[in-house]
Symmetry: D2
Subunit: 354 residues, 4 copies
């Protein structure tokens, strides 16, 4: 930690900061410049609240050096985390990227859902997605079928072998959702619902954590840390677009660079959701490709058997015919990436053996 003092502050203010940090076991290096004094404190950051430090008399600024997350950090865990599911599907590291598809919300028409799932399976997807509980900005919009939707998803899983991913919105629903889902999703609006993070941290299912629409990458990894430090280390991250000043042509700005950044600073898998990330159907294919070639471990897309009558987010859903075309192109790209990754992996293994 670096503490920068106000220029010309009294010596007793400097002494007070130093003493307070030494009492907490920090090693102090003091740099007294002509204009200002800088205190470097080496020790366990978790023992001190930088905001509290910041309010000591004469302190101008407190700068952290080490990232505040530990379990999610590449530094503490150098190998990639690969999340493996019961049927052998793997997400992370140099595994073949996965595809997660399905409607925004599960609706009354089970046959429509099954139709999407069947085509998804046929085109090589691994996951069926679909909302049972829907967070809606307006209270007058469709809020989801709730448990009935979960039953539908489970039935579609039985018939197709796809894994099921669905969102939990409240800590009291975690057990119910964990009964049906293979992968529990935390939505963007709940990324800092800490009670919910704690609850999924204590359950035994992998968690898909979506980035909040105004969350920094640091806060995103700290949200993962909330889950992990409660015992559940099977966290998959999902970039889904951030809020910026421009929403005329896209609903959000899909931050593709988050993919290589997170692969560098964390060991957790990271996938991308271009449907929510852009809000525009025609952008799903180019942005999925961009995500995959930049290193994403998978892509999540909205596909609806009848988007014009979808009860939510139709404008960003692919129809089944559109999906077939997108999937064909993505599978071609994934094939190439998988091939390249195999070479990288075998070289890595070779190097490790020698």
């Amino acid at each position: 930690m670096i503490i920068i003092m106000e220029p010309g502050t009294a010596q007793e203010n400097i002494d007070r900061v130093v003493k307070s940090l030494e009492n907490k076991g920090f090693k102090i290096v003091l740099n007294q410049g002509e204009v200002m004094t800088v205190i470097a404190a080496i020790g366990d950051k978790r023992l001190v609240d930088p905001h509290a430090l910041g309010c000591l008399e004469g302190v101008r600024k407190v700068k952290l050096i080490q990232e505040p997350y530990k379990l999610a950090s590449r530094e503490s865990h150098t190998h990639d985390t690969v999340v493996e599911f019961d049927n052998g599907v793997k997400i992370g590291g140099y595994e073949k990227p996965v595809l997660m598809v399905g409607p925004c919300s599960v609706e009354k028409d089970f046959d429509g859902l099954l139709q999407v799932a069947t085509v998804a399976k046929e085109y090589g997807c691994q996951f069926l997605r679909g909302g049972a509980f829907k967070p809606r900005t307006s209270p007058y919009d469709f809020q989801g079928l709730e448990e009935k939707a979960l039953i539908y998803l489970a039935r579609a899983r039985e018939k197709t072998g796809l894994l099921v991913v669905t969102e939990v919105m409240d800590s009291s629903d975690v057990d119910m959702i964990a009964n049906y889902a293979d992968l529990i999703q935390i939505g963007a609006r709940n990324m800092q619902n800490f009670k919910l993070l704690k609850a999924v941290g204590k359950c035994n299912k992998p968690v898909l954590l979506k980035r909040g629409l105004a969350s920094t990458i640091r806060e995103f990894l700290l949200a993962a840390e909330h889950i992990m430090c409660n015992g559940n280390e099977r966290v998959i991250l999902c970039e889904r677009g951030i809020r910026t000043f421009d929403d005329s042509f896209t609903r959000n700005t899909l931050d593709i660079s988050a993919v290589p950044v997170i692969r560098k600073y964390s060991h957790l898998p990271i996938i991308v959701d271009p449907s929510h990330g852009t809000g525009r159907r025609y952008l799903i294919e180019p942005m999925s490709k961009a995500a995959l070639i930049a290193g994403a471990h998978g892509v999540m897309m909205e596909v609806h058997h009848d988007p014009e009558n979808a009860s939510s987010d139709g404008a960003q859903s692919l129809s089944i015919e559109q999906f077939k075309s997108v999937a064909k192109h993505l599978n071609k790209l994934i094939g190439r990436i998988d091939y390249d990754n195999k070479i990288v992996k075998s070289e890595m293994e070779l190097n490790n053996k020698v």
Copy 2:
């Protein structure tokens, strides 16, 4: 609703949109220009999902004309809502602005809390604030004393007569918090935790709803709508800073203009929190004044008996001595505003009688 079609789209696409809207009871006015066609649809927006409409073939954009909130809107409720508490304190309309003060988190030292509360009472404040459950970005930071904190707050209320405002973080805690608090706070991170909004919408205590740090004013009012349409119309809004590109000198950007905007478009009371809104102690006084003179119904400030050792957010807390000076200046300003409001009000009453 206005539907703008892609230039040169086929007539059958236009017909499909028109028919679909007419089926839902909308009155249609069709404007076919040389370059593009625009469809104006007059009817109940709640019967149609604009996103679904947006995905009909040939539709470029769907624009809403009426705001999607009803209960929170000034249009449906022209008189200001004034929330009244058991002890006669009122928030809203042309009532005298209120002051809510206290530590960020309630801590083990009850005497410290009581000290703050006593001075607060003495300086004309109406509310004691303090966190029992703390949302913290890092899981390694102090998370709050939970029910013990609520007991402390209730005790301080007994001794001072101040009303208690404290945050609820999970729907399962609403009943417990409602037992102790006079005003239940929904924090910025939970502004779109819809299960929680529903839960407080069903309880019989007034709610203080903080604006999400990347929430538009429209989303803010829609979050209030979630509470109101569940039966609880005693909602007080709180602007507490939004996230922008500049966080070097302030933690957030306090959006003072939200105050007059909300007073124009909604009837709900709106207060301001400059402590979280700026993250800097020296900005509390000027930004409180700015908020009050722009029409805020109150100000919420962090005050701690020993900010240097606060377990959270010390840098933005006033010490008791600093608070006394700030309160003196704010009370002077509030006195003038109250005097001006009384003139406005008596003129209004005069006009209504004539």
Copy 3:
């Protein structure tokens, strides 16, 4: 144009708006709903200032339907613009994507520049970039070698055959720069320097227009319009990162989705600059790939013969060895894209012939 009136506004206010628009030749369709009145006006938007309209008594909001740019728009110009240079290099449409490389600033050491240019040529690049006049946030940073740098760039062009792209910062320098450069760059900070846009609009060299760091795509296309309506239609757009709330891991957020959005709504070529867009050397390769696969017509990268001693932006520059590796991977990807584009093109031609 759609004009939404305040609910309950007087009939005379509605009449005034209607009359004012009819006087300017607009065709009016009036929709008087129960709650509010909406006026649709079909005509030439350029005859009226929406802001002025917005201040007529009783007007709540004015919404534009047609985009305000014409020359830059796909609607007015359905075929892709392909900018062709003297040596036959082409940018735009389905042409093979180009690579532009070189140091941030041209420095005193000509041999270093030549070294970069020689390797760039060898690895298939088409353009040498380098700043002669540098916009620097701090007045104490290196401001560029000015005309001497232009002479160096021209010399490197002679020796390698690369085309030269360099930035102009002031309208009085346009002629000098046009003497040396093959492509004149307008930097992000000058995207709305309208005098400068006008000046390059009157010169006979193609222009590379960088997106302002807080400019919407609409403003970006309007800036192109400023150049085009002065006579110069050879405008190449460049996405180079936008400013968002998160700058911890990247300097800006590179908006990859701008590429397919602009390809849909404009006919102008669009390239991407991942060096400025991310500010991190390790992100250049993945973000270049993402840009190219999403449809970018080229990529601009900073390469320096000795980044550790670069006089500006060393942290985001590749060394020559790093560049070789990146270029090898990008050329492989470009080869595949070029092959795919050729198929698309021949199919298009086939379809047009039939």
Copy 4:
């Protein structure tokens, strides 16, 4: 400067950084922790480019401690700068806040301008504002009357005694504008047009520098530094709204907190423009009051004799009748502030004498 090395980096990388800084005369303090090494370098920051440092092998991050501006900083210049005009009007410090009013653009109708100026003078304003050269996002919008407008402004000055403030958009126009204006304005879009900053830095008129709509406060002060280090220290800053994610109810977000922040960290005067800052006429009064009570040295407002027919920005302009009401309320507030400031000042003088 603090240099944070990548964890586990080789000793030779650390040595290289240390040596490089020692060669430039920095005093080095090395903190080698278990996980990572931190290098504190005390010296003249201007001798080194932090970006270049950042690209040395093994460097994770470079953090600046001292602000990069000097002349604009309170540290180097502890007394408030007060800019004084020929007629004795003063801006800055504890002087009475000023009012600058007038139309967005000067138009053909001189009588309209004079009407505004006359009422402005009558209501205690000190400055007449009006654009001669208008930066317009669309090339099809009104671009200003150019020199004719300057002549009109000068004529209105003669008749009323108001000082004239008007914008310069290009370095080649500085001399012409300086001939007519008392205060030369740099618009928000040109805040980082460094050639223009240099040009006004060399002229002998005070400069009103508007904050760029996506500029940090640090960049704002650095732009002032560009002017000041060219010899012109009479710089007045102007906050005029920043671009955020919410533009439904206001065009920009007026950052009132910039006022007390800048008064703390700089000695330069700072005024506020609520017309551009909000884009809504009804917000001018409350936001002007907020700015003034938070410490602004003045307010700039758009007033037009016939806003409905204004050639630019009518929606944010006050009519003359509206202006009278706003001015009455602002003058009342300014009177109180002036009175308070006089007390503060006389106390200060008293203290200094003792």
